[in-house]
Amino acid sequence: MKAAALLLVLALAACDREERAFRALPPGADASPAQQLSPLVPGPARPDPRVRNPYGANAYGIAEGKRLYVWYNCVGCHAHGGGGMGPPLLDEKWIYGSHPEEIFASIAEGRPNGMPAFGHRVPPDQIWKITAYVQSMSGRVRGDAAPGRADSMHSLKPELLREARPVEGDPGVMPR
């Protein structure tokens, strides 16, 4: 009985991880989060505008992000996370924030000193997938959804085996 209940819980827990929503966002849907560039706001405190990455716990979404990271030549500047012309993405240091919507904003709207804005080219749905992959590079996604292999040869540990780090405001991080 206990085993059956455990199995049921495990089966349900895996649903989000395995879902492949090819038409998650219908054409024209705006998935860009509202941007708040400064914590200073006039008037009373507002509710936290932070959003969760829809693909933060989705293995297919993160794997797609990993493919797009190469297709859209993120590797050109950031390499496979070690950095080069652009800052490294594997470490603890985040110039413009490690929250999913901050990473989204960095990709969509660009950042000073070199990061171009891709928001008008890359559809929001794909930016969320790339964001999920960028989170996974420094262990900021659920361990059971992080990629375990790579299409290209590089010497890094697979994302699955990297040290887990908590995602602020996202309870979805699982120990690995």
């Binding site: 492949r20 038409r23 054409p27 297709w71 080219r121 559809p123 299409d151």
Partner: protein
């Protein structure tokens, strides 16, 4: 009612059996030397296996009939109880001469089986050997790259400007021996045009050499023959075999860069193309678009199909594909594109001008 159903059954069965008789399966209607050899091998296999099957079934029937007759001689066939000889089985080795005859027959059958299997193996190896590898006298080289889920086709030229890259459509001159250099960009695919040749695997990180020739003009369909993911079933291609002069004209046309937009709508279409997601993956030679991860669109309107043989290439299909490719071929790599009506019409006008 029941009676009618019963009389309908045999005719239905007959219809089902003869439904495939209109034409032979593509692999048995060869249009090139490779497929011809494969077909010959296939008919040999069919013939030998049919003869062996008939002999085995005949021997079985004869043994059953003889056993029954012997049983009838020993006991009453009318009795409902088990026949009398069930308790008293015939002795197997009463007669040493008969035993020797039986041993000879079994050894002969086993020996014949081994010989037939070796014969089929030798035929198969000889055929495979004749089909595989490269041929030095090849007149034309084509590079084929399997991708999830389409085919990139490249005709290398002596100079970079003579190089042609297209997708899902291979043109070749009738009668010419064509050398294929094939690889895969992601997972293992298998290139198969049943009327021209046998299946050849495309392995990532490895180049496979193969040759083929078409003996008569025609359009032959091909298909990925190795499961490669979600849209494996929609990974088709066309091989167009045409007279050498028509092939030369086609190649010359494909070598040209994309036509500059003629009308205001086409110019606007190019602008839309360069300003939207298209440009991240697709290339159009002669424009700044240089993506290499999706099909080259330099002469997209000259192709017969869209999405690797999934749709006929019409403006309507192209529009639907651009807006909602995931509805047509779920899981494919092209994202849905949110274009306004005006942008879509301009983009279609431009893409349709790329002949």
């Amino acid at each position: 009612m029941t009676r009618r159903r019963w009389t309908a059954a045999p005719s239905l069965l007959l219809a089902a059996l003869t439904a495939g008789c209109g034409a032979l399966p593509a692999a048995l209607d060869p249009a090139g030397p490779q497929a011809a050899r494969v077909a010959v091998l296939w008919w040999w296999f069919l013939g030998v296996c049919a003869v062996v099957y008939l002999l085995v079934v005949g021997a079985l029937a004869w043994a059953a009939w003889r056993g029954r007759r012997r049983g009838a001689r020993r006991g009453s066939p009318q009795s409902a109880a088990p026949p009398a000889w069930a308790d008293d089985p015939p002795e197997l080795s009463a007669d040493p001469a008969r035993e020797r005859r039986l041993a000879l027959a079994v050894a002969g059958a086993a020996g014949a089986t081994v010989l037939i299997l070796i014969g089929l193996l030798v035929g198969s190896v000889i055929t495979g050997d004749a089909l595989a590898g490269a041929r030095p006298e090849a007149e034309l080289t084509i590079h084929i790259t399997g991708r999830q889920w389409w085919w990139e086709v490249e005709y290398p030229g002596e100079m970079a400007s003579e190089r042609v890259i297209t997708a899902n459509e291979i043109h070749l001159p009738v009668g010419a021996i064509v050398h294929l250099e094939m690889t895969s960009a992601d997972v293992i695919h298998s290139f198969w045009v049943p009327r021209l040749h046998g299946k050849i695997d495309l392995v990532p990180g490895r180049t496979t050499h193969h040759w083929l020739a078409a003996e008569r003009p025609g359009v032959f369909t091909g298909q990925c023959a190795e499961f490669c993911g979600h849209q494996h079933a929609h990974m088709g291609l066309l091989v167009v075999a045409e007279p050498p002069e028509r092939f030369a004209a086609w190649l010359a046309a494909q070598r040209r860069s994309a036509a500059a937009p003629d009308t205001a709508a086409e110019a606007r279409g190019l602008e839309v193309f360069l300003d939207s997601s298209c440009v991240l993956c697709h290339a159009i030679r002669g424009t700044p678009a240089g993506g290499r991860t999706a099909p080259d669109l330099t002469h997209v309107a000259s192709r017969a199909t869209l999405a690797a043989g999934t749709l006929a290439n019409t403006p309507g299909h192209l529009g639907g594909w651009i807006l909602d490719s995931q509805g047509v071929k779920p899981g494919n790599r092209m994202p849905p594109n949110a274009l306004s009506g005006e942008e879509l019409q301009a983009l279609l006008a431009y893409l349709e001008s790329l002949r």
